[in-house]
């Protein structure tokens, strides 16, 4: 992931969107969403390397790597929700942004459910000893 390229693309897209917004709002919105998607895909390459690095570090320490995957899933849901909701608000669709927010919260809650069950199970086992 080349941060210079990503920053340059985002800046250029932001300036262009600002310039064409008075004349063509739809194109400006499309331009900004395209820049967001390009940045997200560029970041995914870097995230994959961070993920495998963290996996290796914790795997070497004998920690179950499932937790790292879970943390990355949650982070991914958060960032996706953040980007989509912000893009919707940028396009003037506040209600859609709120709907995306709500979906993100539900997705995180579903992700945390097995953790909460495991946590309660551990507490029950610990207190029964």
């Amino acid at each position: 992931m080349d941060i210079v390229k990503v920053s340059a693309v985002c800046l250029i897209a932001a300036v262009l969107a600002k310039v064409i917004q008075p004349t063509n709002r739809d194109l400006a919105a499309l331009l900004s969403i395209s820049a967001v998607i390009f940045s997200a895909f560029a970041a995914i390459d870097g995230i994959t390397e961070v993920f495998s690095g963290s996996d290796g570090i914790l795997g070497g320490a004998g920690v179950a790597t499932g937790y790292v995957r879970l943390a990355f899933k949650a982070l991914g849901i958060c960032y996706l929700t953040e980007l989509c909701a912000s893009s919707c608000r940028d396009c003037g669709e506040t209600a859609l942004g709120a709907a995306v927010d709500l979906s993100g919260r539900v997705a995180i809650s579903l992700l945390m459910l097995p953790l909460i069950r495991q946590f309660i199970e551990i507490i029950r086992t610990v207190l029964e000893r």
């Binding site: 914790l58 943390a71 995180i108 945390m112 495991q118 507490i123 610990v126």
Partner: protein, 365 residues
């Protein structure tokens, strides 16, 4: 009518008596088996490593500071492995947590997710550390239950009968109590504190319950230790002086009233008393060393865990993961509590034995 009923009841009582009697042949195996269950193989290996032969108490003199220091360092290095893994794990999750600080959408990731993950990942190692500490207390108690009567007998033979009686009674009571508390109270308390730590990390409104528990128990243990050691110390010092007077009076009587060999007899008592004191001192020193070996590994482990958890808490606070930091400091309080209990247990037995070694003989001129 009433008299008839009373007479009938008395007759029925005599016709159907209930039998109550003591066991005629108590099995010595039943009495000795808890003592033989103590796992002392690690202690024997440690004694060999320090160059001390358990069959020769005089070999205690060969113990050098270098050997002791290298032994402590080896225990410390062994104890450091798991806490380092904990530091690594928590650092990685703290880094993830700090990344979420940039998000405006933080639902469910306001530290709660990482608190749950860290707790689930770390709790098995912590419960294992608790089990090892409880096993060490039980092992040391079993050793002391066999050692105390022997050492008390030596102290009594050295001349300080009241100190020996006090030492025997107080420490037997203490060791039995410690074994009972370790098995039925300590581990449940530690597990409850573990659960409370997770709860207070997830909901900061609960306050710092584990720190309050730790401070309360530390105060109570300090008071109990002062009380017990005060009793043993006072009885040792007072008994030493009183029995010293009795010995001097006896020596004077023997040297005055026994013809020809009276003086030799009274001086030979001094030789016997000094040799018994030497035996008492070496056996006492060996007992203290074995206690130290029993308690060293769990104490060092608990302290290393505490230090690493406090360090993790500091890292989490630095990265902005406040809830994770709260969890780490709370877990550090649990290990602080455990190390306090272990140190209290070891100090009680060591100081009491040390007092009897130093002051357990009679005053001889």
């Amino acid at each position: 009518m009433k008299k008839i009923i009373v007479i009938l009841v008395v007759l029925l009582t005599f016709l159907f008596p209930s039998c109550a009697y003591a066991d005629e042949n108590p099995s010595t195996d039943e009495i000795l088996s808890p003592l033989s269950e103590a796992d002392t193989s690690d202690i024997k290996d440690s004694l060999d490593g320090l160059g001390i032969d358990s069959s020769d108490p005089e070999s205690v003199r060969d113990l050098s500071p270098n050997k002791l220091l290298s032994f402590v360092v080896s225990v410390f290095s062994e104890a450091l492995k798991t806490p380092l893994k904990i530091v690594l794990t928590v650092s990685v999750f703290a880094a993830f947590c700090s990344v979420t600080q940039t998000l405006s959408f933080k639902s469910g990731l306001y530290g709660e997710l990482f608190v749950l993950i860290c707790f689930i990942a770390l709790s098995p190692t912590m419960v294992e550390a608790f089990s090892n500490a409880v096993a060490a207390i039980k092992g040391a108690s079993r050793f002391m239950l066999a050692y105390i009567p022997v050492f008390a007998s030596l102290a009594a033979a050295s001349g300080n009968l009241s100190a020996a009686v006090s030492y025997n009674a107080v420490l037997m009571y203490f060791c039995e109590g410690a074994a009972l508390i370790a098995s039925s109270v300590l581990k449940p308390i530690l597990c409850c504190m573990l659960a409370l730590t997770a709860s207070q990390a997830l909901d900061p409104n609960l306050g710092n319950i584990t720190a309050a528990l730790k401070n309360t128990v530390t105060t109570v243990l300090g008071f109990v230790m002062t009380l017990f050691l005060g009793i043993i110390g006072l009885q040792t010092i007072v008994g030493r002086t009183a029995e010293g007077l009795a010995v001097k009076a006896g020596k004077y009587a023997v040297s005055s009233f026994v013809p020809i060999i009276g003086y030799s007899l009274s001086e030979s008592y001094k030789a016997v008393s000094l040799s018994l004191s030497a035996i008492r001192t070496t056996v006492g020193a060996l007992g203290v060393i074995i206690l130290f070996l029993f308690a060293l590994t769990p104490i060092v482990t608990a302290l290393v865990y505490k230090a690493s958890l406090v360090f993790c808490g500091w890292i989490c606070r630095l990265m902005g993961a406040d809830r994770l930091s709260g969890l780490m400091y709370g877990l550090g309080d649990v290990f602080s509590f455990l190390s306090t209990v272990l140190i209290f247990f070891m100090l009680m037995l060591t100081v009491a034995t040390g007092m009897l070694i130093l002051l357990g003989g009679t005053v001889t001129a």
